[in-house]
């Protein structure tokens, strides 16, 4: 008995060493964990994000000739930096609860042994899930959670690709300053916002950025999103008649404002709506004929044929039957950022992936979303994250700014109905 085990040991030792060495040089798969809401209130967003990331993994594993001209990772045959290891995405359902998000993150780390984690859509769940990844020292990339405190926790393993409120505010500010340079009047700006967390925080960030950039906010109107009548607010606007009006609204109030403005026959020369309600498919379906020329923002616009967003959108449509949107495009972007880092790390070791993420520097032309690129600051925030500015044209939003990624020219003044 003893002799046999000894012999096995003697024979096994070099093999074991080889095995270990082998593993660190060539892996057949690299596992990435993805924690998303696949059931519950946000299941639709989570499932579209899942499909978008699967499209991304398929492009890296099996290649896409057209994309390969722009994206180095799209040549097919897996991750070149890992000797062609294929990417395997392992999805977990966060069920829309912070507890499930954290439990599943632990499972992905300890049972599935993923190299990195991506997630988790809802900001609150990203809080708990990334805290678990931080404890275990596993890189965590969030493509979409925007709560401002996420990057203020001093985490070493946390990276955020998405733009946050301040990026939107900067985009509006730059856009308006360009309009001013082109000879349009932007001397008075009205901020109209609903009065919960979303409206309050976005409006205060816009006010801050505009003040710094010398844009005059002359009127601030806060209202409750459940209002059934916004006549007083619209009359206030009509009286002051600002050059620019910015709306931060949910869906039902967006519809209400649109109708009331038509009834009272008032419109500003430039009307901006901060995504949300004015971008809701149900708003676009029913109200778009009354808001022709409305300016909004999005992380994604299909773009011109031959560009990265256009090709990915075609691939995604084949799989999901719908276009990529603001959320799914950002998820795909986050996945591609992580894949790029793993490739450059040339290893599945968390610390090397973390170092590679810190050194990320992706150019704008490789973006699925409308970002200026990807580059992380010390807190893990993507400093090149920015927003596309879109305009309503005949029932759908088209990208009009920045110039480089615009598919149509700006048409002003606002036409409305």
């Amino acid at each position: 008995m003893l002799r046999i085990s000894r012999r096995v040991l003697v024979a096994g030792a070099p093999l074991a060493v080889l095995g270990v060495a082998d593993e660190s040089f060539a892996q057949d798969v690299v596992k990435i964990g993805a924690v998303y809401p696949l059931s519950g209130n946000s299941a639709s967003a989570g499932n579209y994000s899942k499909m978008a990331m699967e499209v991304g993994a398929d492009v890296i594993n099996n290649g896409n000739a057209e994309l390969a001209k722009i994206l180095p990772l799209a040549k097919g045959g897996g991750v070149p930096g890992l000797k062609g290891a294929k990417i395997e995405l392992i999805f977990a359902d966060n069920q829309g609860t912070p507890a499930a998000g954290q439990n599943q993150t632990l499972r992905l780390i300890s049972e599935e042994k993923v190299a990195a984690i991506i997630g988790a859509y809802q900001s609150g769940i990203t809080v708990t899930a990334s805290a678990m990844a931080e404890r275990y020292g596993i890189p965590f990339v969030t493509p979409e959670s925007v709560a401002s405190n996420l990057t203020e926790r001093g985490f070493k393993w946390f990276f955020r690709v998405t733009p946050v409120a301040i990026d939107f505010a900067k985009a509006y500010s730059m856009f308006l300053k360009e309009q001013k340079a082109a000879g349009r009047k932007v001397d008075s700006v009205a901020l109209v916002h609903e009065n919960t967390e979303y409206g309050n925080s976005v409006s205060s960030v816009i006010a801050e950025v505009f003040a710094k950039d010398g844009l005059n906010i002359t009127q601030k109107i806060s209202y409750s999103a459940n209002s059934t009548d916004v006549q007083p607010q619209v009359l206030q606007l009509k009286e002051k008649n600002p050059d620019v009006a910015i709306f931060i609204s949910y869906t039902s109030d967006a519809i209400l404002y649109t109708k009331t403005m038509k009834e009272l026959n008032w419109k500003p020369a430039i009307m901006i709506a901060d995504d949300a309600g004015f971008n809701d498919p149900s708003f676009v379906k029913t109200m778009s004929s009354l808001v022709e020329g409305l300016i909004s923002r999005s992380a994604f616009a299909v773009g011109k044929p031959g560009t990265v967003p256009y090709i990915f959108n075609e691939l995604f449509k084949k799989k999901a039957d719908v276009d990529l949107d603001d959320v799914s495009a950002r998820a795909l972007e986050g996945f591609l950022v992580l894949a790029d880092a793993i490739n450059r790390a040339g290893s599945t070791e968390p610390a090397k992936i973390q170092a590679a993420l810190k050194a990320t520097n992706l150019p704008a032309d490789q973006m699925v979303t409308g970002y200026d690129g990807v580059k992380f600051d010390d807190k893990g925030q993507n400093v090149l994250a920015s927003s596309l500015i879109t305009q309503m044209r005949g029932g759908q939003y088209v990208a009009i700014w920045p110039k480089a990624r615009a598919t149509a020219d700006v048409i002003l003044p606002y036409k409305g109905w």
């Binding site: 696949l38 059931s39 999805f91 439990n103 609150g124 708990t128």
Partner: protein, 336 residues
């Protein structure tokens, strides 16, 4: 006698297993954590059991106390930079106070009306909390991102949580056991069977229901504070959401409401079921988890409507179903 011996042996074996569980699962963080999650859920469900099981006042709004506990813990961290667990006594005190405020008018209601009133209060608090800046609004509040000291009770391993929860649960069950055996336990069961009969025999029903409700609130709140120290985040939905209340009820009912170990057994079945079904099926993205989870609950409810413990309790001496004679002596036979 011999079956009772065997039962005692099985119980002793289970007790030993519960004590050494973290050692058995030290190789798997997921299973080790699962144990802690079961105990945490069992604390909540056992706390609910005092008023919902023993006194038969089915509260479906216990999330309000859970949320008070969780928010008290995170608020003392956010606004005073104290360790979250320091908020636990504050949460408990507030919850007892709130229970008194809710209980005095609503415990007069009977049957479904009490349940409806508790839901209404919990939903009201949930909506209010999402507009309060002090409580972090709809976005919620986070605990310490990285532990600042031992008092933050922030651990990588689930083992310390497991034993903290075990101690709290043991304390709660001990207290419940003491109540069950004492005068109050008899009164509560009498109220549950027929409040009118109990009153006619001189039991101050309103008083005892209120005491049970307040005690239950305090421990539910403690469960909320412990939840926060473990997960480090609470928002209106994860603090005051109706699902939290419902889970307490379902766990207690599944194991056996009004029985000492019922909620623990319910938690020991439902929590692993939920976690494992999510781990196995959740990633497929079809919401299969809840289909399976729901189906199992339906099956148990169909075949064992009075909880799993009824399997053990199905002895001729169990008189609990016979309502009219359940006050007075015969009950003591049941308590053994």
């Amino acid at each position: 006698m011999s079956t009772r011996r065997a039962l005692q042996l099985v119980l002793a074996l289970i007790a030993v297993l519960v004590l050494v569980y973290p050692l058995l699962t030290s190789g798997s963080p997921v299973y080790s954590r699962l144990g802690a999650l079961v105990l945490l859920a069992a604390i909540g469900a056992s706390a609910w059991n005092i008023v919902g099981g023993y006194a038969g006042q089915v509260s479906v709004g216990h999330a309000v106390f859970f949320g008070f506990g969780a928010y008290s813990a995170v608020v003392v961290y956010t606004h005073l930079e104290w360790p979250p667990i320091a908020g636990a006594p504050i949460g408990m005190a507030l919850s007892v106070l709130l229970a008194a405020v809710i209980g005095v008018p609503t415990l007069r209601l009977s049957g479904h009306y009490f349940s409806m009133a508790t839901i209404a209060v919990a939903e009201l608090v949930r909506v209010l909390s999402s507009t309060s800046e002090f409580l972090g609004g709809a976005q919620g509040l986070s605990g310490p991102p990285v532990p600042r000291g031992a008092l933050d009770l922030s651990f990588i391993s689930a083992t310390p949580y497991y034993y903290i929860f075990l101690i709290v649960l043991a304390g709660l069950l001990g207290l419940t056991w003491w109540i069950e055996r004492g005068r109050m336990g008899f009164y509560l069961r009498a109220i549950k069977d027929s409040e009118r009969a109990a009153r006619s025999l001189g039991v101050s029903a309103g008083n005892y229901k209120l005491q049970a409700y307040m005690l239950s609130a305090a421990f539910t709140s403690l469960a909320g504070s412990l939840y926060l120290t473990m997960f480090g985040f609470v928002d209106p939905e994860s603090g005051f959401g109706i699902l939290i209340s419902v889970k307490m009820v379902v766990m207690a009912a599944l194991g056996g409401a009004g029985q000492l170990l019922g909620p623990l057994i319910g938690a020991a079945i439902l929590v692993p079921l939920e976690e494992l079904s999510n781990s196995l099926l959740g990633g497929k993205g079809a919401g299969l988890t809840f289909v399976v989870y729901g189906a199992i609950i339906v099956i148990i409810a169909r075949f064992l409507p009075s909880g799993l413990l009824s399997l053990v309790e199905r002895r001729p001496t169990a008189p609990n179903s016979a309502a009219p004679k359940s006050t007075g002596k015969p009950v003591s036979g049941h308590a053994d």
